[in-house]
């Protein structure tokens, strides 16, 4: 009887000690992640809740926000042509630039996936645009390159083609911006290259034994083996595409005739040119929703086309 009590007591104190120990570990853990946790609560979760609230108000930063219910959202969907224009432009931009960029990145990565000499130097060369592409300097340059008297027209002139100011052309302005981001294909290219290097050569050898040519090898071996990497690039690039701002803001200012009005530029205008913080917050939430839907869609379809080695029972 006594020993049983003793044992119980022992378990009890043991539990207590364990709890105390866990508490100590918690304390250490939270101390380490404190910087992030403060930022997460104070600069992300808090502001997001505030932003959700503001999206239901009329707020100009000077006077207190006034509650307007769903007015901002209703206005946006029924009464704001520029909102729809921004959606349209952004979708064309994302669906135009992301596939092109990834295809080009994969193409270049395959060129570099060789043991030939000099590839390291080439890789550096091809990556330079991606280092500088987002800068104001390149935005400035782009405007001049594609301007009426720019280098592009000069080159076209050699072939007898009459150029135009591509940046201020309603038909071509958006394409020049797409070209600019496709040109910055470096990061997905490096990721593809690492992915390609990880594909075991035996798979290609086996395919060759089965009589597969280069095209079939690409479809049957390269693409499936690369699918996790394609998936990663697709998610990252799509989100980045929806967030694009600098190119449109600096090169075309959304023009001509709103033909390059990126969603982020429209949002910036509403918030910091008109100080319509309520409406801009509503715009931000719609952007979040769009990104979430697309990401969820890509994740959802992933099981049909993303092939993981461990599942394949390699």
């Amino acid at each position: 009887m006594e020993t049983k009590v003793d044992l119980n007591q022992k378990i009890q104190t043991n539990k207590k000690a364990k709890l105390r120990n866990q508490f100590r570990v918690d304390l250490i853990g939270f101390t380490f992640i404190a910087p992030w946790l403060i930022g997460f609560v104070g600069f992300i979760v808090g502001p997001m809740i505030a932003s959700l609230y503001f999206s239901f108000t009329d707020y100009d930063l000077l006077s207190a926000p006034t509650w307007v219910g769903f007015d901002n959202y209703i206005n946006m969907f029924t009464n704001d042509d520029r909102f729809w224009q921004a959606i349209k432009v952004t979708f064309i931009f994302v669906f135009g630039s992301v596939p092109l960029k990834l295809a080009f990145a994969l193409f270049v990565a395959m060129l570099f996936n060789t043991k030939r000499r000099g590839v390291g130097v080439y890789r550096t060369l091809y990556y330079v645009p991606s280092i500088l592409g987002g800068s104001v300097a390149i935005a400035v340059v782009w405007r001049q390159l594609f301007g009426r008297e720019g280098a592009i027209n000069d080159i076209l002139g050699i072939f007898g083609i009459q150029g135009m100011n591509w940046i201020s052309s309603p038909d071509f302005a958006l394409s020049t911006l797409i070209l600019l981001v496709v040109w910055q294909f470096g990061s997905p290219m490096l990721i593809f290259l690492a992915g390609l290097k990880a594909i075991p050569t035996e798979l290609y050898e086996a395919a060759a034994v089965d009589g597969a040519g280069p095209v079939l090898k690409f479809i049957k071996v390269t693409l499936p083996m690369l699918s996790p990497v394609i998936f990663f690039n697709l998610v990252m690039q799509t989100i980045q595409g929806f967030m694009a701002f600098t190119q449109s803001f600096l090169i075309t200012q959304g023009g001509p005739m709103d033909k390059t009005l990126f969603y982020a530029v429209y949002l910036y205008e509403k918030a910091f040119a008109y100080f319509d913080m309520g409406y801009a917050s509503a715009l931000a939430w719609i952007l979040l929703l769009i990104c979430a839907i697309f990401t969820a869609f890509i994740f959802k379809t992933a099981k049909n086309w993303v092939h993981y080695e461990s599942e394949g029972g390699n």
Binding site: I28, G29, F30, I33, A34, P35, W36, G39, F40, G42, F43, I44, G46, P47, A50, S51, F54, L61, L111, G118, Y122, T124, L125, Y126, V128, P129, I131, G134, S135, V136, A137, I138, V140, V141, Q144, E149, A151, D154, I155, W183, S187, L190, I191, A194, F232, N233, I239, M243, F245, T246, F249, A264, L267, Y268, A271, F272, M277, S281, L287, C291
Partner: protein, 281 residues
Amino acid sequence: MKKSKSARTVIYHSSIIALGFLMIYPILWTIASSLKPENEIFRNSSSLIPSFLKWENYAAGWEGFGGLTFGTFFLNSTFVTTMVVIGTLFSSTLVAFGFARVNFRFRTPLFVCMLITLMLPQQVTLIPQYILFHKLGWVNTYLPLIVPSFIGGIPFFIFLMVQFIRGIPRELDEAAYMDGASTFGIFWRIILPLTTPALATVAIFSFYWTWDDFMTPLVYLNDTKLYTVALGLQMFTDPSALSAWGPMFAMSVVSILPQLLVFLFFQKYLVEGITAGSVKG
């Protein structure tokens, strides 16, 4: 057989060089234009060879306008970037160690939260953060640019460090623990020295993103004296200020020079950083 192989090699190299030339043509063109006399920038504009090198463009551009030289913008950018790099190194190492090595409760859900914020569009928090900083009286100071880095503002870096620390054998921690080291001691003396390559990657990336960043300074800085290089350069492109193209190109070159130099010297770390998150995971 041998001949066709060498022919293929020649075709391979020449086509890659041709395509590569096309890739960096805009950058070469910028450098060329920065040294061209004014009347050549638009005549024969595709040419990469100026008739003579007009270095005066650089002097004229550096002078800036309104009594502010480009040197001011350069100093401002250097200060902001340095602080952000320090802040990022500080927060990402501490937080990553916590997530990778300490078994506290709620670790997994919090880690998932952090991964979700990786994919959060910047615009969503932009407005409420602006309102917050506005209320704090931080608008038109460097605080909104710098402070977020000290509190893990860019979760990508934490993620990168977590991936890296997870690759360090746990036996090292345990051995140090047996020797009586505290958790912080393990972090400071064992883990931190081993993460140097990852620290380099984080530092280089945060340097790039801060140097390049246009939207944040645009939103928060009003006073031209505080302008970073990105904003200063944008002033050059203002149609009302635009009188000299040569100096504008010259300052474009100057503004990308630090990025170019860092890239050429440290590209190894950059490549590792880009591929670390995607392929290992």
